[in-house]
């Protein structure tokens, strides 16, 4: 989405107990966000146990490869959408 509003995504993370599970997060949107922006927001504002890798942020280095709805994608080059399921790590 490009305007203002909010989206809900599911992200696999370990939680405070260290057990891997999907959790839902609601993210306020103000202008187009990519999945890396979403992970950053969730990690920084909602749940620091949500983890991911990132480096160049511009689709060049390949560090932020994640699984989105079952497909391998670069988080920084995928526009965030409502209802996405994100696995930041393959073996999580």
């Amino acid at each position: 989405m490009t305007g203002k509003g909010e989206i809900t995504v599911r992200i696999r993370a370990w939680g405070q107990t260290g057990e891997s599970a999907y959790r839902e997060y609601v993210i306020p949107v103000d202008g187009e966000m990519n999945v890396l922006n979403v992970l950053e927001y969730v990690h920084g504002q909602l749940d620091p146990t949500v983890s991911y890798k990132s480096s160049c942020r511009r689709g060049v280095c390949g560090a932020c490869m994640v699984t989105i709805n079952g497909k391998r994608r670069l988080a920084c080059e995928t526009v965030a959408e409502d209802g996405m399921t994100i696995d930041p790590f393959k073996d999580a």
Binding site: T17, H43, P48, Y52, V60, C61, A63
Partner: protein, 584 residues
């Protein structure tokens, strides 16, 4: 605990780290450890990028370039650009080493998109690819690559550097590296700034660990900002896209505020990387005087471009793709007359770990190369940082091997390893405290607002006090999950200490330097003071305290001991550079 043992340890795998590893591996065993993806991390891969050498070198290679040019003539320009704060020994090593380095990169297949008098235009990706090819050619060379591993601190035995201690992000394991010589190639500390144009892992790790180990740091107050960085939408934040387009800048009143009073300064701003300093300063002036955009920047418009010119521009960037980003939707809006909000972002750090022309730091066994080192560009970098990384990388690699060959290295101090293990795990022992996200957010806003493009004593004093408080809070940081593998928050807690240290040193040095020079612009001291301030500020840890010394610049170039109003000094620099160009 996993352990590695080699002659030379290189920390960082951007251009400087790869070039250092390549050089050292010709005659020694090398381990390269990288926090990001090996050979694709750091600032290099996103560089624009031009790579420079003197004109005669390019002429000899069959490119346009003045055959009468030479390294010494180029060095004189670099001193003017750096407001004579450059360490002239470092400048000499840079200009004399550049030709060989550029030739090698071309041999390894670096692509050339365009040429200038003293540069070829390529991309950071192409430079990285060329360096990787160079490494491949050393087939069978004893290089061990360890990526996804963050170095926490240097290991010291008998007052020399003997290795480093780190954490593997994927597993959360501690890793120990033993070496006869260690090369830091870790880049800048971009992430300390709310607006920055650097990769995520650029958190001043090298500067932080060198400082804690007792090495000298220099010129930490010098920070270059790049203008026209998109502030919104979030997806494009930090991209250099609008920096490279021919846009018009407007303030909130709609005034095109970029008026050049002096045609020579205009030429500098429009034809060289002086644009970073000159545009960033003008934009920030608008923001500080209340004529900024809602997000704290200014407006960037392409409305002045006739539609056919707009189309021609698209030919140069098919589909409006730049790096991995697709700007087509945004460009369609700009074509209709929409103006994007842009602002200056932290982009290059002139200061850093103090080195000599052999890339030796003040600590035995420790070398530094590329952006994490300081002193080459003085108060303002205009010449290419890409050239810096390969020249210094090669020197550091060569010198580290020399040391490794002659020295007996003391064993690692296992007590220090034990101490570091405890220090890194104390985050897990605290139940309550502050989160790294909160402290990081405070740090980043503080850096941008108070140690930014335009400074004054009051803001800098406030910054010193606030960063001191942040430093004290570091002891209360907790992490939410005790699981060590893939623990981003844990890594950030360790990075935060480095960023806090860099900003603290930068703010203190900026407060101390009561003049304006290059990228250090003090509104309360708008004078370039060559009577008192042709001096570095050299900082060093001394127990719990930080010592700051005024050290005269290493130079063979005399300049008049006078005080010149800052704006006039820029006009003088422009005149001097243009006159030199015309004469050649």
């Amino acid at each position: 605990m996993r352990r590695y043992d080699s002659d030379v340890l290189v920390i960082g795998s951007g251009g400087a780290g790869l070039r250092a590893a390549l050089e050292a591996a010709k005659s020694a065993s090398v381990t390269v450890v990288s926090k990001g993806p090996m050979g694709r991390s750091g600032a290099t891969i996103l560089a624009g990028a031009d790579i420079m050498a003197d004109g005669a070198t390019f002429h000899a290679l069959g490119f346009p370039g003045n055959p009468e040019d030479n390294p010494a003539a180029w060095a004189k320009d670099i001193l003017i650009e750096g407001f004579y704060l450059n360490d002239e020994n470092l400048v000499q090593a840079y200009v004399e080493g550049a030709g060989q380095q550029v030739k090698e990169l071309l041999d390894w297949g670096m692509t050339v998109r365009d040429t200038e008098e003293r540069a070829v235009l390529t991309t950071g990706m192409s430079i990285c690819a060329a360096l990787r090819r160079g490494l491949e050619e050393l087939e069978g060379a004893p290089i061990t690559r360890v990526d996804g591993t963050m170095i926490v601190d240097l290991l010291i035995s008998q007052e020399r550097v003997v290795g480093a201690f780190g954490i593997d992000f994927d597993t959360g394991e501690f890793v120990c590296f033993q070496a006869k010589a260690v090369i830091l190639a870790t880049g800048g500390w971009h992430q300390a700034y709310a607006f920055n144009a650097g990769a995520d892992e650029l958190t001043g790790d090298g500067q932080g660990m060198a400082y804690r180990a007792g090495a000298e740091l220099v010129d930490m107050e010098m920070v270059t900002f790049v203008p026209n960085i998109l502030l919104a939408p979030p997806r494009y934040r930090g991209s250099l896209w609008f920096y490279i387009l021919p846009g018009a800048l407007l303030n909130s009143r709609g005034d095109a505020f970029m008026a050049w009073e002096d045609p020579k300064v205009a030429k500098l701003a429009l034809t060289s990387e002086w644009n970073k300093l000159l545009f960033s300063k003008a934009c920030m002036r608008e923001v500080l005087e209340g004529r900024g955009s809602p997000l704290g920047g200014v407006y960037f418009s392409l409305k002045h471009l006739p539609t056919n010119v707009f189309d021609a521009l698209e030919q140069a960037y098919p589909g409006w793709k730049f790096q991995g980003d697709d700007f087509s939707e945004l460009m369609a809006k700009l074509r209709e007359g929409y103006a994007a909000e842009v602002g200056p972002a932290a982009e290059y750090f002139e200061g850093g770990i103090r080195i000599n022309e052999r890339c030796e730091t003040s600590l035995p066994g420790l070398y530094a190369a590329g952006e994490c080192s300081g002193g080459l560009f003085g108060a303002n970098r205009v010449a290419a940082a890409t050239t810096e990384m390969v020249v210094e990388g090669a020197i550091a690699g060569r010198e580290a091997v020399k040391l490794a060959a002659k020295d007996e290295t003391p064993p690692i101090d296992e007590k220090q390893v034990e101490h570091l293990t405890q220090e890194c795990t104390r985050f897990f022992d605290r139940e309550d405290g502050v989160t790294v996200a909160e402290l990081r957010g405070r740090l980043r806003r503080l850096a941008y607002e108070k140690v930014g493009v335009i400074r004054n004593g009051k803001c800098l004093s406030e910054a010193c006090k606030a960063v001191n408080e942040l430093e004290e809070s570091l002891g209360q940081v907790t992490v939410a999950t005790k699981r060590r593998a893939y623990n981003r928050e844990w890594m950030e807690s360790i990075e935060l200490r480095n960023m806090v240290q860099c900003l603290l040193l930068s703010a203190r040095a900026a407060r101390e330097r009561t003049e304006s020079r290059g990228v250090h612009v003090r509104e309360d001291y708008p004078v370039v003071d060559n009577v008192h301030w042709r001096q570095h500020l050299v900082m060093q840890q001394d127990g719990e305290d930080c010592t700051m010394r005024h050290v005269p610049v290493i130079s063979r170039t005399e300049i008049p001991k006078e005080q010149i109003p800052y704006e006039e000094a820029i006009v003088q620099a422009a005149e001097a550079l243009m006159t030199r160009k015309e004469e050649s």
